[in-house]
C-alpha cells in the first residue's frame, strides 16, 4: 500500500467523527433459538457507502431491516443522528430486492408514493417524482405500469421512490440481484454517480465481493450464523479511473482476493 493510500485510509476511519447511524449491541433471535445476529456494534459515516457482505443466511437482511425499523431487535438499539429510533422514519428509505412496486399504480404514482404518505400535495410531489424519474433514466415512462417495464427498469423505479423522499440514508437489500449482469454494471456506475450527486449515506447488502469492492467506501464482513462482525475493510481504490480500467486495477484485485480469503473459511 502506498503512503497516500494509508493517509486516505486514516481519514476514512476516524473513530470520532459523526456517524449518521449507530448500531449498538444489536442481537436478533428468531423464535426461541435461531440467533440471527449477535451483539453487533457498527457506525455508519455520513456520505459513505457501506456494504454488508457475508455468506447466505448470516443476517444481512435482518440487520438492514432492523436499521430500517421494520424489525424489532431482541437486544440493543439503533441511533439515527444520535437519536434512538423505534420504527421507520423519513430519514431512512428502503430499496427492496424484489422492487415492491404497486402493480396497479404507474411509475409516477409509485415514485411519488412516499411523498404522498408524507402529505405532500399532488403538484409538488409529481414535480419531485418527475425529477427523480429522470435522474434514474426513466424519463418518458411516467405513465407506464410496472408490468410494462423490465426488471432493471422496475428497480430504477424503486430507487427513484427512495430518492424522492429525500432521506439521508438509503438502505438497499441486494437491489441488483434480480437484474441481468449488464444492467447490474450500469446500475453500479449509476449508484456511484448518485452518491456523488446526492451526497447520501448508503447501506448496501450484496452477495458479490466484486460488487462490494467496486462500489463501497467500507465493507462490513459478517460471519455465518450467529452473525457477528468478522472484519471491516476500507478498499483503497483510486477514485479517478474508469470502470473498465478499475476491474483490472491491482488494488481492486488484491482487495477482492483478501476478502475472499476471509470468507473462504466459512464456505468450506
Amino acid at each position: 500500500m502506498s503512503i497516500a493510500m494509508q493517509i486516505e485510509t486514516e481519514n476514512a476511519v476516524p473513530a470520532a467523527s459523526n456517524p449518521i447511524i449507530e448500531v449498538k449491541g444489536i442481537s436478533k433471535i428468531y423464535g426461541s433459538d435461531i440467533v440471527a445476529l449477535e451483539n453487533i456494534d457498527l457506525a455508519f459515516e455520513e456520505g459513505q457507502l457501506t456494504s454488508l457482505l457475508g455468506p447466505s443466511g448470516c443476517g444481512k437482511t435482518t440487520l438492514l431491516k432492523i436499521v430500517a425499523g421494520l424489525l424489532k431487535p431482541s437486544h440493543g438499539e439503533i441511533l439515527v443522528k444520535g437519536k434512538k429510533v423505534h420504527g421507520p422514519g423519513p430519514e431512512r428509505a428502503f430499496v427492496f430486492q424484489d422492487f415492491a412496486l404497486m402493480p396497479w399504480a404507474n411509475v409516477m404514482q409509485n415514485v411519488a408514493f412516499g411523498l404522498k404518505m408524507q402529505g405532500v400535495g399532488k403538484a409538488a410531489r409529481e414535480d419531485t417524482a418527475r425529477h427523480y424519474i429522470s435522474e434514474v433514466g426513466l424519463s418518458g415512462f411516467e405513465q407506464k405500469f410496472p408490468h410494462q417495464l423490465s426488471g432493471g427498469m422496475r428497480q430504477r423505479v424503486g430507487l427513484a421512490r427512495a430518492l424522492a423522499v429525500n432521506a439521508d440514508v438509503l438502505l438497499m437489500d441486494e437491489p441488483f440481484s434480480a437484474v441481468d449482469e449488464q444492467t447490474r454494471r450500469k446500475f453500479q456506475e449509476d449508484l456511484m454517480r448518485l452518491r456523488e450527486v446526492e451526497k447520501k449515506t448508503f447501506l448496501f447488502v450484496t452477495h458479490s465481493i466484486e460488487e462490494a469492492v467496486y462500489v463501497s467506501d467500507r465493507i462490513v464482513l459478517l460471519s455465518p450464523r450467529p452473525g457477528r462482525v468478522s472484519q471491516i475493510i476500507d478498499p483503497d481504490i483510486p477514485q479517478d479511473i474508469g470502470p473498465d480500467e478499475l476491474r483490472r486495477n491491482d488494488v481492486y484485485l488484491d482487495t477482492v482476493e483478501s476478502i475472499w480469503h476471509g470468507i473462504k473459511k466459512y464456505v468450506e
Partner: protein, 250 residues
C-alpha cells in the same frame, strides 16, 4: 372442431343437438319433449306474458339482494381470515365445509326460519355465493408479497392507507371470487325459488308443469341458461380489465 376436413364452427354442434331434439320431439313419444320449434314459439309467449315479467323482477331482486349481502359479508370475512391467523384457524374449517356442502338440503331449513317467500330465496343465494368469495378474498390477502407491506410501512403509510393497499393488492382474487359467487348465486336463486315454488320463476315452473305446458317449461329453461351465461360473460369481461396486474406480482 373439424369434420371430414372442413372446419365446423362451434355453433354447428349446438345446431346438431337442436335437430336431434326436434326429431325426438316430432315422434311425440315423450310428453316431456315437445319439438324444438314448439319451444321456440312458446319462447315468445313466455317472454311477453305478464307473469314472466313479474317473475323476472322478483328473481332479479332476490338475486341482487342475496349477492350484495354475500359480497358485503364475504369480502370483510375473507380479509379478516387473511390478515388474522387466529380468526383463520377458527373459521377456515367452517367456510370449507359450507363451500362443499349440499346447500340445497338446507333450503327447507331456511323455509322454516324465514318463511315461504323472498327472504328464503335471498338467504339461499347468499349461502350459495358467500363462501367462495370468502375463500378467494382470503387467498388474495395471503398472496400479497410481504415486501409490499414492508414498503408501505417503511414509507410511513397510515393504517388506513395500508388497508387500501391490502384491498388493491388482493383485488384480482376478490373479483375472481365475486364472479364465481355470481355464478353460484344463479344456482341459488333458481333452486331456492323451485323449492319455495310460489314465487318468481319457481312459481312459473310449477305453473307450466301443472298445466302440462312443456314447451313453455323448456322455453323458460332456455331463457334462464341464456341469462346466466350472459351474466358470467359480462363479469368475466370486467374482471379481465383488472386481472392484468395479478400475474405481475412477485
Amino acid at each position: 372442431m373439424t369434420l371430414l376436413g372442413y372446419r365446423v364452427p362451434m355453433m354447428a354442434a349446438l345446431l346438431v343437438w337442436v335437430v336431434v331434439w326436434e326429431i325426438i320431439g316430432r315422434f311425440d313419444l315423450l310428453l316431456l319433449f315437445p319439438p324444438f320449434t314448439e319451444v321456440l314459439m312458446a319462447l315468445g309467449d313466455v317472454v311477453t306474458s305478464r307473469s314472466f315479467a313479474e317473475a323476472i323482477r322478483i328473481t332479479a331482486l332476490s338475486y341482487a339482494c342475496g349477492l350484495a349481502l354475500a359480497i358485503a359479508v364475504g369480502v370483510p370475512l375473507g380479509l379478516l381470515m387473511g390478515l388474522v391467523p387466529a380468526a383463520d384457524k377458527m373459521l377456515n374449517i367452517w367456510v370449507n365445509t359450507f363451500l362443499s356442502a349440499p346447500l340445497s338440503a338446507l333450503v327447507p331449513v331456511f323455509m322454516i326460519l324465514f318463511g315461504l317467500g323472498t327472504p328464503t330465496v335471498i338467504v339461499t343465494v347468499f349461502m350459495f355465493a358467500v363462501w367462495i368469495i370468502v375463500l378467494d378474498t382470503r387467498a388474495g390477502v395471503q398472496n400479497i408479497s410481504p415486501s409490499l407491506m414492508e414498503m408501505a410501512h417503511s414509507f410511513g403509510a397510515s393504517h388506513a392507507e395500508r388497508g387500501k393497499i391490502v384491498l388493491l393488492a388482493a383485488l384480482p382474487e376478490i373479483l375472481a371470487g365475486i364472479r364465481l359467487g355470481m355464478i353460484r348465486g344463479v344456482k341459488g336463486v333458481v333452486i331456492g325459488q323451485l323449492l319455495v315454488s310460489i314465487i318468481g320463476v319457481g312459481a312459473l315452473f310449477s305453473l307450466y308443469q301443472q298445466n302440462f305446458l312443456m314447451a313453455h317449461f323448456w322455453a323458460l329453461i332456455l331463457l334462464l341458461f341464456a341469462m346466466a351465461l350472459t351474466l358470467s360473460g359480462l363479469v368475466g369481461r370486467l374482471e379481465k380489465r383488472i386481472e392484468y396486474y395479478a400475474g405481475v406480482r412477485s
